[in-house]
Symmetry: C2
Subunit: 481 residues, 2 copies
Amino acid sequence: MPFGDTATNPAHLRLLEEWLRGYRPEELFDEQGALVPQLGALAPAGARRMGANPHANGGQLLKPLRLPDFRDYAVSVPRPGHASAEATRVLGKFLRDVMKANGARRNFRVFGPDETASNRLGDLFEVTDRAWLAERLPEDEHLAPDGRVMEILSEHTCQGWLEGYLLTGRHGFFSCYEAFIHIVDSMFNQHAKWLKVTTKEIPWRQPIASLNYLLTSHVWRQDHNGFSHQDPGFIDHVVNKKADIIRVFLPPDANTLLYVADWCLRSRDFVNVIVAGKQAQAQWLDMDAAVKHCTAGIGIWEWASNDIGAQPDVVMACAGDVPTLETLAAVALLREHLPQIRVRVVNVVDLMTLQPREEHPHGLADRDFDALFTTDRPIIFAYHGYPWLIHRLTYRRTNHANLHVRGYKEEGTTTTPFDMTVLNDLDRYHLVGDVIDRVPKLGYLAAYVKQKLRDKLIEHRQHITRTGEDMPEVRDWQWPG
Amino acid sequence: MPFGDTATNPAHLRLLEEWLRGYRPEELFDEQGALVPQLGALAPAGARRMGANPHANGGQLLKPLRLPDFRDYAVSVPRPGHASAEATRVLGKFLRDVMKANGARRNFRVFGPDETASNRLGDLFEVTDRAWLAERLPEDEHLAPDGRVMEILSEHTCQGWLEGYLLTGRHGFFSCYEAFIHIVDSMFNQHAKWLKVTTKEIPWRQPIASLNYLLTSHVWRQDHNGFSHQDPGFIDHVVNKKADIIRVFLPPDANTLLYVADWCLRSRDFVNVIVAGKQAQAQWLDMDAAVKHCTAGIGIWEWASNDIGAQPDVVMACAGDVPTLETLAAVALLREHLPQIRVRVVNVVDLMTLQPREEHPHGLADRDFDALFTTDRPIIFAYHGYPWLIHRLTYRRTNHANLHVRGYKEEGTTTTPFDMTVLNDLDRYHLVGDVIDRVPKLGYLAAYVKQKLRDKLIEHRQHITRTGEDMPEVRDWQWPG
C-alpha cells in the first residue's frame, strides 16, 4: 500500500498518478480504455492459456483408481469380539493391491513421515519402494527412484506433495501419527478453502480426488511415547471448515476400516479424516455387518444391547476403536452386576451423522437421531477425542441435556493402554459408574457395585505400578456373548 | 524396538541378553545392581548438574518486568462510541515504553512474522530496532544487531525463539496475523503440555513468564487479503488444552486491550491469547470503565441497555471488537424501530468466564451466569470466531436452549468490512432479524421491520458493487447515546 489516503490527500493522488503514468497507458489502451489489439494478441489462446492447462485443472486428467474388492481382505469374525486383528495392517494389504492394480497408470501414491512401516502399512513394500534418488547403502531397505511411497520426516512436505499430486489429477493417501498432523493445520486450511471455492463456486473446475488422512498411532496407545504424542484435536480443527467438503470416520475395527478406506478412495473433492489404531484389538463386525453399519454411518449394535422389545434405561454410545472396546467391556460388567438395566449400544463410524442435517449432508434427521438416542434416557458417550466436540455437534438434538461424554481430557503419560483410559475416566469402570450415577432405578443396590469399581481401579493402579502391564482380566478380556 | 516379543520368544530373549552383555554390566554395577562408585562420581554434583543450571529452570532467573502504568496510555472516551482509535496502535505506545523501561535489563522482546509495523505496533521502533546481523542497505529501516524486535516471516521460528526466551527466564510478546497462527498449532501443543506437566506436577520448577499471543489483522478486516486470511479457529485449538494454563481475551476497544495486555505481561505459566483489531474503530469504555469491565471479564453495558428496572426481552451478547460494533448498531436499530423491546447488552472480554467454574478457574458461577443471561430470555450472541465454540463453552448453562450464536462460518472474500459481517449473518441487520424471530410479543408489527432490514441488505449489496465501499450510513454510523 504505497498510499493509503489518495481519496483525501490530493498530493498523494498526484504522486500516484505520476507513477502510474510512467507505464504510458496511452500506448497500452485505446480511447475506450480497452487493451490495444496488438497487446491482447500476445496472450496465448484456447488450450494454451495457463488456466486451461489440464495440469492446472487436474480433474480433467483424473482417472478413477482400479480398486480390488475390499471385501476380499475381510478379517473373519465368527462372533463379535472373538477375533483379533491390527486394523491398519489389514488395510495395508488392501493398499498394497491398490498400488499394484494402478502401477501401470502410475496415479497412486502413499505419503507419510517415515511411519509407513510403524503404522503397519508395510505390505506396500511388497509391490513398491520408498521414493529415493540419492546414494543407497547395503543396509537400506525398500528404497528406489521409482518408489511410490513418499516418506520424509516432515509432515509439511508430505502435505505439500500430496496436494500437488491431487491437484494435478492423481490419487493419494497420507498416514500420520495422530498428534503430529496438527503440524499441517494451516496447510489443511488453505486446501479446504480452495476446495470450498473451486468446487462450489467455479463450475469449470473438474472434481479431483479427495485428500485422505489416516490418523493412527493415536492418543490411546502411546505405550512408548507418552504425553507429547497425545492430541486427538485435528478433528476439531477440520470440522470448523465447510461441512460440504469435510468427512470424519472412526471405524471401530478392521472390516469397518476397509469399508471406509475404499469409500474415501472413490470420493471426490473432500477432505476425509480416518482415525484408526494399529494395535491388535478385538474385532466386532464381520464384513457383511461392517458394510451395513458403515453405509449408515451409525447404528445400534443389537448383539450388544438388551433393550429389544423394551425401553432402554441407558444408551451407551461410542466412537473410535478404544472407546468402543471400553464401552463393550462396561456393558459386559453391567450384564454381570446389574442385569436388570436395559442397555442400548450405539456405535458411530461417521462422526458427521451426529450433526443436524441442516448443518452437514451426512447429518441424521432429527427423527432418526431421536429414535437411536431416545428423547429422555441418559446417554453415556465414549468418544475418541476431546469430549466437547460431541456436545458441539449435538447441542441442538432433543436429548442433548441427558448426554454425558467421556473422552481425552489432556491427561496422559507413558503408561499402559488401559491406564490411558483410566487417567481420562474413559475406562469400563468409570463408564459403569457413569451409568449408575444416571439410572435412577438402581437405588441402594448401586453402592455395592460402585465400591467394587473403586476397588478395581485401586487394584489396577497397584498392578501396573508393580508389573508395568495391565491386569490379565483387562488385557485378556473378551466379549462374553 | 529391536525385539517386540522377548516375553514369548526365548531365542529373541537370548539375543537381547547377548547384546546387553556386550556392555559388560559386571564392570558397571555391583552385586546389588547399583552403579559402581567410580562411575557415579563422574556425574556433576549440585548446581553443576544440567537440570540445576538456572537457564534450564528459567523461573529462577525471572525478574518481573518494569511496567509503566497502562492507564497513562488511555484513549479519551467522553461518551461511549464517540471516540475512534486503532487499538493495536495504542498498545504499541505501551509496548514501546515497556521496551524502554526494561532496556537495561534486556529481558523483553517482541516477536512477529514481518508484521510489527503492519500490526501497528511500529512505535516500538522509536526505542529499538529489528534484530539483524547481516548486511544492511541504505533503504533498510530499523535494523540493528542489538534490536529487540525479532522479525522473520516464519511463525515457526518466532514461536521457537519465544519459547526459548521464556524458558530461560525472560518475557515476550508475539503478534501475528490471526489466520496464520495455526502454523504453530503443533508447537503450541507441546509448550502447553510442557506447562501443564511442569507447573502442576514438578514442584521445583519456578514459574516462567506466560506465552502471550496478540492475534490481529483478524478475520473481519481482510479488506485487501481475503478468504485465505480468514481463520479465527486458533482459540478453538487452544481451549482443548488444560484449562489451568489457558486464557483467551477479546477486548472490544483500545482501553480494554491495554488492561488485558498489562495483565498478560504480569501473569506467569499461562498461554494468553488476545484477539484485537488494528483498524480505526469506535471506542466504548473510558479507562475507569475498562478496568472494571476487564477485571470482571464480562458484564452488562448499562449505557447500552434499556431493561433496567424491568425484565429484558432479549439479551444481546458480544465478544470481539467487530461483533461488539455490530451488536451496538443492532441495538440502536431496535431502539429506533422497536422501542418497546427491552434489551440487555452483555460484553465478554474474558472468554473463559462462559465456561462453568468447575471447568475453568475464570468460569462464572452458575448463579452469576444466570443473573447476566437470564434463565428464560433469548440470547443473541455475536462472537468473533466460529460460533460453535460458544455452544461448547455454555452447553451446561441453564439458559443454553435459548442461546443463538452468530460468528464466522467460512464465508468470505476480499470485500468491504461490513460485507464480511453480512456474508456471515453477523451484521446489524441480521442481528435485529434474529431478535425479531425470537421475541414473541412483536406479532404483526415485525413484518414491516423485517422488510426494511431485507431492503437494507439489498441496498448494501448494490452499493458495494457500485462503489467498492460500505454505505455511508454504515461506515459513518455512531452510537446515538
